[in-house]
C-alpha cells in the first residue's frame, strides 16, 4: 500500500528564516511526486511534479528535491504570504485510476 508521511506537522518561522519540509514515501513504483499548497477554505494549488531521484525544481522562494525515499521542499527567506499548508502526494505506476495518495500536510506559519 502506498504511504506518505510528512514532517513536521507544523512549522513556525520568522520572516527570512529558511527551512525545509520533509515528505517520506513508500510506493511500489513512482510515476510522480506532487507538491501542493492549500490555503484555508481553498482547494490544493499545484506547485511541482518530480519524476525521478535527483530531480530538482524551483519556483520563486521554493525548491523541491527528490530521492528514492523522500522529497524536500526548501523555503528560502520565506515571507508571511508563504503561510499555508503544504501537501505532498504520490502517484504509483500501474492501475487505471492514477489516484494521488496524500500525506497529512505541513502547516507553515511565517511571522513578520
Amino acid at each position: 500500500e502506498d504511504q506518505v508521511t510528512q514532517s513536521p506537522e507544523a512549522l513556525r518561522l520568522q520572516e527570512g528564516e529558511s527551512s525545509s519540509l520533509n515528505c517520506s514515501y513508500t510506493v511500489s513504483g513512482l510515476r510522480g511526486l506532487f507538491w501542493y499548497r492549500q490555503d484555508p477554505g481553498k482547494g490544493p494549488e499545484f506547485l511541482f511534479t518530480l519524476y525521478s531521484a535527483g530531480e530538482e525544481k524551483e519556483k520563486e522562494r521554493l525548491k523541491a528535491t527528490l530521492t528514492k525515499k523522500e522529497s524536500f521542499l526548501h523555503i528560502t527567506a520565506p515571507k508571511p504570504e508563504d503561510s499555508a499548508t503544504y501537501l505532498c502526494a504520490v502517484q504509483a505506476i500501474g492501475g487505471a485510476n492514477s489516484k494521488l495518495t496524500f500525506g497529512k500536510g505541513i502547516t507553515l506559519s511565517v511571522r513578520p
Binding site: F34, G41, G43, F46, A96, N97, S98, K104, G105
Partner: protein, 116 residues
Amino acid sequence: GAGVSQSPRYKVAKRGQDVALRCDPISGHVSLFWYQQALGQGPEFLTYFQNEAQLDKSGLPSDRFFAERPEGSVSTLKIQRTQQEDSAVYLCASRRAGSHSNQPQHFGDGTRLSIL
C-alpha cells in the same frame, strides 16, 4: 481561464437526508477525480472517471456513495442517507490527459458538507 468549479460551497443536511454535490471540470479535461478531506487530514481518493467511464470507485466508503459523469463533463457525487461521519470537505479535481498520465491534477475549492 476558468478553473474547476464546485457547488454548493457549503451544504448542511440532517442525518438521513440525501445530498448531491456538483463538479464542473476544466473544459476539455478527460480525467475527473473526487476526494474526501477530513479536518486536519490530506485528501483521500474516492473515485475516478475517464470521460464518462468510471474506471475506479475503490475509495467510495459505502454503497451510500454514488458518482456519475454521464456526458463526460459535469460530475455529481451523491450521498444517500447521510451520517455524521460523512461530514468533510469534498474536493473535485480534473486533468487534461487520461489514465496512466502523470500530469498534475487541478482542484476546485470543494464543498464543505456538515451533517447535523
